[in-house]
């Protein structure tokens, strides 16, 4: 099912990306900066920043990113799995001035890994680098951690528009790569799922074929 979702046929991709992060880390600002290229402005065209689509064209392939914002409050933490089920990528945002938010990211990564394994592509964004003076999360710590979990780390600032475009682009490329790998894998292995699918197809074909047979019979 997930395969179907990713590859809508003819080389177009639909990716679902979840945005995780604590309440005040600036998830919404990041995604609005990316989709609308605006920050904290009154004339934002969207009514909401909860679900946004971004269309990309990479290497001649059309990609649609569906970016899902999630509620970051602690009390909703348990709901995480419902959100990031079937997602292809996750952007984990923390506030560089807030050590707690980084700890939260760690929790989410752990959960994501547990739920989706390595299927999901992760990006960690240290947001608000315009407030570099108040940094509480050391750069090395964050980057090392990201590397340890197989995620990419980016320094971003929604306010000054730093690193956000790059982060999403890189994530998209990784997701594409992952999707292509999966396609190849699927094609190469004539596994149960494949044969099953063929079986079903045959069933339907058989249903359509009898008319000709009966005609021959008469």
């Amino acid at each position: 099912m997930a395969d179907q979702l990713v590859n809508g046929g003819s080389g177009n991709y639909n990716f679902k990306v979840v945005l995780l992060g604590e309440g005040c880390v600036g998830k919404t600002s990041v995604v609005l900066r990316y989709v609308e290229d605006k920050f904290n402005e009154k004339h934002l065209t969207t009514l909401q920043a909860t679900f946004l689509n971004k269309k990309l064209n990479i290497g001649g392939k059309r990609i649609n990113l569906a970016i899902w914002d999630t509620a970051g409050q602690e009390r909703f933490h348990a709901l995480g799995p419902i959100y990031y089920r079937m997602s292809n990528g996750a952007v984990l945002v923390y506030d560089i001035t807030d050590e707690d938010s980084f700890q939260k990211v760690k929790n989410w990564v752990k959960e994501l890994k547990k739920m989706l394994g390595s299927e999901i592509c992760l990006s960690i964004a240290g947001n608000k680098i315009d407030l570099g003076k108040e940094r509480n999360v050391p750069v090395e710590t964050a980057e090392n951690y990201a590397a340890s979990v197989g995620a990419m780390h980016f320094h971003t600032s929604a306010k000054q528009n730093i690193g956000i475009e790059e982060m999403f682009l890189e994530l998209t490329q990784r997701m594409m790569q992952r999707a292509q790998e999966q396609e190849i894998q699927r094609a190469s292995e004539l596994t149960r799922t494949n044969s099953m699918r063929r079986n079903i197809v045959i069933v339907d074909e058989e249903e359509t074929s009898p008319p000709s047979k009966s005609c021959c019979g008469t």
């Binding site: 046929g9 998830k27 919404t28 197809v201 058989e206």
Partner: protein, 632 residues
């Protein structure tokens, strides 16, 4: 078509008989694996007879009721067969039942008409093909539902597989090559809608699941949590704002509408509409694009306040039977996921998740304490605020209108004053230009009084004088026009022209009559005589009028009429009327007024033609006189 099918069935039957022995077409390992072939054959034979009995030649969307019956019968038979179910399906033996789409005729018809335009665009072949898929899927699912071994998850998987296969087919098959992607999407949508509307009664909240219990549990739970306010869930809904208040209500309405929709995507549509409204209201409350941090608590709040019917069943139904590729991506999927989150949150709600003490929470749950700031009390507050706002708006409007009216009034006042002045000026002008002259009332003249002109008038015999003059003037002309005697005229005749001959005839005709005299006279004379007569007559009429009507007609009318008649008499006819005065005195007697008639002769001097003022007296006088006469 029908005949050939029938024939093919018979052949099938014969094949079935010999199938296990030699026929390759039906010879199948699966068949060998099962119970005895005789039973198998018999069952098929029986089924076909049944089918032929009920089969309608028109395969389509008509006669659903009949087909439903047929379907249920078939199902019962198949239940007996049990193990053969899958095989028979895949064999396509039930192909004859194409067009069985369940009992929901009206809804299906509605869906069909809704998509009529689409099918008009994609063509007939595509339409038939799609319906073929739908019917085969429907049949499969109906059979599957009755299988006690198949769980709802199996059905869900079958459905999802069907969606996937159909997507692939539409993507790849030849007849769909001209169909645009947009239409393909719509075709899938139609298929899902159609199939699921038909299968709704079987797949929604099926008895095999615990959906109903879950529904009741969540309903009870939400009812217990009715004390939860927006603040408890950290929701920034401004309960006192009337706009927000209205939006909350409309979003609740949308959410409640989910239960009445049948197709999964329609249910999803309700969720989407509900969530969009919530986002709009959150945008108002937050003052910018709402994020998920604002949205989820608001959704939880709305779910708590709406307490939708069969919430769990609906969610499960959509999860199981909505096209997964749609549900897992797109806006609808996102909102639906949020709804699932909200429900999950409500189910697992604890004191901690509301940021309150365990004791307090328990007391709330047990209904021991009621918070002051519940939705209800907020509602009451809102109601007041709402009313106030409304009234304020009305007053504002009234004030504006009042101002407008006042302005208009002052304008009108000015205009009126202006108008008044203008009129005064104009009137003055007119007065100066055309001064009013009051003419003195003319004194009525006395008709019956002694006329001073009477002696001056020539006597009525004056025409004789004229004839004398004529005779004196010219002999010839007199000969023609006015001979004094007929004899004389005749003697002069032969001298004259032809015209005189005709005249002579005329004369001879009337010679004996009195009129001959008149004719003998000159034309002037005749005219004069006629004039005299007529004047005498009119005079008499006038006198009659005056004498006859005056006593009866009320004095007022007389007063008005009198001068008119008088002026008539006065101006033109007075000289003649005076001459002819004597004759009017004769006809005066009328049958009704005895007194008048009798006195008519005697009182020519009575001033009946005097002014209006004297008339009343006259009448009285005459009345008295009449009485006197009667007495006499």
């Amino acid at each position: 078509m029908y005949a050939t099918k029938k024939a093919s069935l018979r052949i099938d039957e014969s094949y079935l008989m010999c199938k296990s022995l030699k026929c390759e077409f039906y010879g199948n390992e699966e068949w060998d694996g099962y119970c005895s072939l005789v039973l198998l054959e018999w069952t098929f034979h029986y089924l076909q007879i049944l089918k032929e009995k009920h089969k309608s030649p028109v395969a389509g969307f008509t006669k659903f009721e009949e087909k439903k019956r047929q379907q249920s019968e078939k199902r019962h038979k198949l239940l007996k067969l049990g193990v053969f179910r899958k095989t028979t399906n895949s064999r396509g033996i039930f192909r004859l039942n194409e067009g069985i789409f369940g009992p929901d005729t009206k809804e299906v018809e509605a869906i069909r008409s809704e998509y009529q335009e689409l099918f008009g665009k994609v063509g007939k072949t595509v339409e038939t093909d799609i319906h073929k898929y739908i019917s085969s899927f429907y049949k499969k699912l109906v059979i599957e539902v009755d299988n006690p071994n198949s769980s709802i998850e199996d059905l869900s998987e079958r459905t999802q597989n069907f969606y996937q296969i159909l997507t692939k087919k539409i993507e790849e098959e030849f007849i769909y090559r001209d169909v645009s992607n947009e239409y393909k999407e719509q075709l899938l949508d139609y298929t899902e809608k159609h199939a699921m509307t038909c299968l709704y009664r079987l797949l929604f909240c099926p008895p095999t699941t615990t959906d109903e219990d879950k529904d009741l549990n969540i309903q009870k739970r939400i009812r217990q949590l009715n004390w939860v306010s927006a603040k408890h869930v950290d929701c920034q809904i401004d309960e006192t704002n009337t706009d927000v208040h209205d939006l909350v209500y409309s979003s609740i309405t949308e959410l409640l509408g989910m239960d009445s929709a049948k197709a999964p995507q329609d249910k999803l549509g309700c969720v989407v509409r509900c969530c969009r409204k919530i986002l709009t209201l959150m945008q108002k409350c937050v003052g910018g694009p709402a994020s998920a941090d604002d949205f989820l608590p608001a959704l939880i709040f709305v779910v708590l306040k709406a307490n939708p019917a069969r919430l769990k069943s609906n969610i499960n139904y959509v999860t199981r039977f909505c096209n997964a590729s749609r549900l897992m991506s797109g806006e609808g999927g996102y909102y639906f996921t949020n709804l699932c989150c909200a429900v999950s949150f409500i189910e697992n709600l604890t004191a901690e998740s509301l940021n309150m003490q365990e004791d307090e929470f328990r007391q709330y749950m047990d209904g021991k304490i009621l918070p002051s700031s519940t939705w209800d009390s907020a509602l009451v507050m809102c109601e007041g605020m709402h009313l106030m706002a409304e009234n304020a708006a009305i007053f504002g409007d009234l004030r504006k209108r009042h101002e407008v009216v006042m302005n208009e009034i002052s304008a009108l006042k000015e205009e009126m004053l202006k108008f008044q002045d203008e009129i005064i000026v104009k009137v003055e002008q007119l007065r100066d230009e055309v001064p009013l002259i009051l003419r003195p009332i003319r004194k009525p003249t006395d008709l019956d009084a002694d006329d001073p002109h009477l002696p001056d008038l020539p006597p009525p015999l004056s025409p004789q004088i004229v004839t004398n003059n004529v005779t004196r003037d010219e002999k010839k002309s007199v000969d023609i026009e006015s001979p004094e005697s007929p004899e004389w005229h005749i003697t002069s005749m032969p001298d004259q022209t032809l015209t005189s001959v005709t005249y002579d005839f005329d004369l001879s005709d009337h010679s004996g009559g009195e009129t001959s005299i008149c004719e003998d006279l000159g034309s002037n004379v005749i005219v004069q005589i006629i004039y005299f007569i007529s004047s005498a007559e009119t005079g008499s009429v006038h006198s009659l009028d005056l004498n006859a009507y005056h006593p009866t007609v009320p004095p007022l009318n007389k007063g008005i009429r009198f001068p008119d008649e008088f002026s008539l008499l006065d101006t033109e006819e007075s000289p003649n009327s005076h001459l002819s005065l004597p004759p009017p005195l004769k006809p005066q007697p009328t049958p009704t007024y005895h007194g008048f008639s009798s006195q008519g002769w005697q009182i020519p001097s009575i001033p009946c033609d005097t002014g209006a003022t004297h008339l009343a007296f006259d009448i009285e006088a005459t009345g008295e006189e009449n009485r006197k006469d009667e007495k006499n």
